[in-house]
């Protein structure tokens, strides 16, 4: 008797993975290069619109001393703030933080930090009006759009006290039209 052959399950077609790997490598490269892995100078926040503001030059002179002060909303211990989360204006004082390079400061401690930063980059002459050496460091104040104006005022006042007089406030520019 003729013995019947037992059919074996075989996949006759193996997909060619090479083009897919190529594309995935390219995607990976794109996201790797696009990812912002630098130490964050800026905190995540929603900035107020300021279409008449001067665009911050991304290629500005990095040797010019500059400090960014963030005034942003954050609830301690990963808690939630329903008012802020729903687009409202939160006025709980503890929810508004001031930070420089990712480190938070209070109204009591930020003055000392600003003084320290001002002393790092003094102007090379005594200012004839102020009769003292001022700081050439620029300060950028980035405040969340619903941050209390009082906090911004306080930061400006502290900068003035710490001889930091080059102060700029930051807003969001509209996306350029194509």
């Amino acid at each position: 008797m003729h013995k019947r052959k037992v059919a074996t399950v075989q996949d006759p077609q193996s997909p060619n993975l090479i083009p897919m790997i190529d594309i995935m490598f390219r995607l990976l490269l794109f996201f790797l290069l696009g990812a912002d892995m630098a130490a964050r100078e800026t905190a995540t926040m929603v900035l107020a619109d300021a279409d008449k503001s001067k665009e911050i030059d991304p290629n500005r002179d990095e040797t010019e001393p500059e400090t960014t002060i963030n005034i942003h909303h954050e609830v301690a211990g990963d808690g939630a703030c329903p008012i802020y989360d729903n687009g409202g204006v939160c006025r709980v004082k503890e929810h508004w933080l001031w930070s420089i390079s990712g480190k938070s400061y209070t109204k009591e401690t930020i003055g000392e930090k600003l003084k320290e930063l001002a002393e790092l980059s003094p102007e090379d002459h005594v200012d004839p009006d102020a009769k003292k050496v001022l700081s050439r460091r620029k300060v950028m104040i980035r405040a969340d759009k619903s941050a209390p104006y009082g906090d911004v005022q306080k930061v400006i006042e502290m900068c003035g006290t710490a001889t930091l007089y080059k102060v700029a406030v930051v807003g969001a520019l509209p996306m350029p039209e194509k």
């Binding site: 790997i21 490598f25 790797l32 912002d36 008449k52 409202g88 009769k131 906090d151 005022q153 006042e157």
Partner: protein, 150 residues
């Protein structure tokens, strides 16, 4: 690149499945953490060199002052230009422009726009006035500060 060559040229078959898995995971990670950058602009506001930040002298009358109050009950800002309450941005622009042109005609082109706001007023409302003033080519914009604590 990974392509090129016949499979028969290479006697050693490499199992690429784990690598594809890892690249998939990496791709998903970077795709999830990817964020488009918001364009940012700045208003430079050099502080007075000799004084730092101080309260505006009370005897200054050459000014365009905009008062801003915070209404806790309604969570809304009330803006006042002189004695007039102004809700509309267009109206505010017209008023500031009119006042600025008056001062300029009187030979005072450097008259400041003073923003005198309650400390609870949202920053966006203050920046809106700065934006309006900048749009009218007014460079002298001041933030009124409260009296220093004794």
């Amino acid at each position: 690149m990974a392509g090129g060559g016949d499979a028969e040229d290479n006697p050693v078959a490499i199992n690429v499945i784990p690598m594809v898995d890892v690249i998939f995971c990496l791709c998903v990670f970077f795709m999830c953490s990817f964020k488009f950058k918001q364009l940012e602009g700045k208003f430079e506001s050099w502080l007075p060199r000799n004084k730092g930040a101080e309260g505006t002298p009370s005897d200054v009358i050459k000014e365009i002052r905009i008062a801003m109050f915070w209404d806790e009950a309604t969570s809304k800002v009330r803006r006042q230009f002189g004695m007039r309450t102004v809700d509309d941005d267009g109206e505010m622009t017209t008023l500031i422009r009119g006042s600025y042109e008056d001062w300029r005609a009187k030979g005072e082109p450097n008259v400041p726009v003073i923003i005198d706001g309650d400390e609870r007023v949202p920053w966006s409302e203050v920046l809106k006035i700065v934006n309006i003033a900048k749009g009218l080519s007014i460079d002298n914009i001041e933030f009124a500060l409260g009296k220093k604590d004794a």
